[in-house]
């Protein structure tokens, strides 16, 4: 509960600060207002990676320890990760339409991000279609670990393609113009804070549901 309350209050403080900083951020000379989608798109991508990484880590912990709580943490991280990955896939094409003139291209980074989204949707489907909850926990832990392989390929996709992609390069130290660093950093902090809040909320719901199921059985 303390984790939920802390992240809830932190998110409540960060969201207005972040929105204000994005509003105040300078407009890019070439891309115009569409450039501000960066402050949503990239932080959501980082939160999605975090979610899938936590899914794999807690899945591995579950396989090692057989503690139910690790499974709850893994499943909740996957759910929130899928949400943020969905936001990446929605915000990206909005920027692409404004900048490239079309919604989608089968660029390596875009395609791998879509693939990552489909992998973790499949993770959730696997949990849903496996009847026995202990078996679902084991199977999804294995699948979550297998899906981790795609994350570094996705992140380094532009480097792997030798820079021959449409998607902008990964951000480096001097990538952002003057006045853009603060809204970007606030965006990342807000995305992580909202991620942890939603994660804590989902974990508490899963634990409550498991207790209810146990009580029904006894």
């Amino acid at each position: 509960m303390i984790w939920l309350r802390t992240t809830g209050w932190l998110s409540a403080l960060l969201v207005p600060a972040y929105l204000f900083s994005v509003y105040q951020a300078p407009v890019d000379a070439i891309q115009g207002v569409a450039q501000k989608i960066l402050y949503v798109h990239v932080p959501c991508a980082f939160a999605a990676y975090l979610g899938f990484l936590l899914t794999a880590i807690f899945g591995a912990f579950y396989l090692a320890t057989n503690k139910r709580h690790h499974d709850h943490l893994a499943a909740a991280a996957a759910e929130v990760g899928v949400l943020f990955c969905g936001l990446v896939i929605v915000s990206g094409p909005i920027w692409a339409k404004a900048t490239w003139g079309h919604w989608w291209s089968w660029d390596l980074r875009l395609t791998l991000t879509l693939l990552l989204f489909l992998i973790y949707v499949a993770y959730l489907l696997l949990r849903e279609f496996t009847g026995d909850s202990e078996r679902a926990a084991r199977f999804s832990a294995v699948y979550g670990i297998a899906g981790l392989f795609v994350i570094p390929i996705n992140y380094f996709a532009i480097d792997l393609a030798g820079g021959r992609t449409m998607h902008p390069e990964n951000l480096k130290g001097d990538s952002l113009g003057s006045g853009m660093t603060l809204p970007f950093l606030l965006g990342v902090a807000t995305a992580f804070s909202v991620f942890f809040y939603l994660w804590a909320k989902r974990v508490s719901l899963r634990v409550a549901h498991a207790r209810l199921e146990a009580r029904k059985r006894s």
Binding site: L115, L126, F139
Partner: protein
């Protein structure tokens, strides 16, 4: 090692006697070739040659799904899967035995489907036969390792036939990219693509190690 050989020989012997999986995979693969022939157009022009390797590997991949769906189906009869789970042996070697038999099956199917494809689309595979067979072997290993692991999972779920392709196809993309890249390079430039082969080898290695280590959790009751 004994466990690996016993499982491998058992699966190959069952497949040799019934040929059920092999036949259904081959027929499906040939059907896909025929449908692609109508979809792509009656004549194969110079421009179309560039995406023929992609069509070929799609046919092989979809035919592999048919075979992988049946991989553990036989073990479900008479609860033989419980016998495997309770066997006093390292479960990783059970996995290796099943994956190896599946890889042999997928490789033979890939070769036959490629033959049909080359006849139907006028491709010349004979002058690149050894590097092409190597590509088929590497791709078959990648598909078989991950496919066997997920087949072991999905056989005990409620929607096995739907779930296996949904789980497997996204993770097979690196194998598919490697196979298509290597085949394209062989057909068009008549040389081996190191980048594609490296992708195949790395994917196979990662999936093999992952599947070997985690199969025991899949087999648990």
């Amino acid at each position: 090692m004994n466990t690996f050989l016993i499982i491998l020989c058992k699966d190959l012997m069952i497949e040799w006697r019934t040929r059920a999986r092999f036949a259904s995979m081959l027929i499906f693969g040939v059907l896909v070739v025929v449908i692609f022939y109508f979809a792509v157009g009656v004549t194969v022009s110079e421009q179309k040659t560039h995406f023929i390797p992609g069509l070929l590997w799609m046919a092989i991949l979809f035919a592999s799904m048919i075979g992988l769906n049946r991989s553990f189906a036989l073990e479900m009869e008479n609860d033989a899967i419980s016998g495997l789970a309770l066997a006093p042996t390292d479960r990783g070697f059970i996995f290796l035995g099943k994956a190896s038999s599946t890889a042999i099956l997928l490789f033979s199917n890939a070769v036959l489907i490629s033959t049909c494809f080359s006849m139907g689309f006028g491709l010349s595979l004979l002058n690149i036969i050894w590097p092409y067979l190597g590509t088929c072997a590497l791709a078959s290993i990648g598909i078989a390792t991950l496919g066997t692991l997920f087949s072991g999972m999905t056989v005990r779920t409620s929607h096995q036939e739907i779930l296996l392709p949904i789980l497997l196809l996204p993770l097979l993309v690196p194998v598919l990219l490697g196979a298509v890249g290597a085949t394209t390079s062989l057909l068009i430039e008549q040389e081996t693509s190191e980048k594609s082969l490296r992708l195949l080898v790395v994917s196979d290695a990662v999936y093999l190690v992952l599947s070997f280590l985690t199969f025991e959790f899949v087999l648990e009751e």
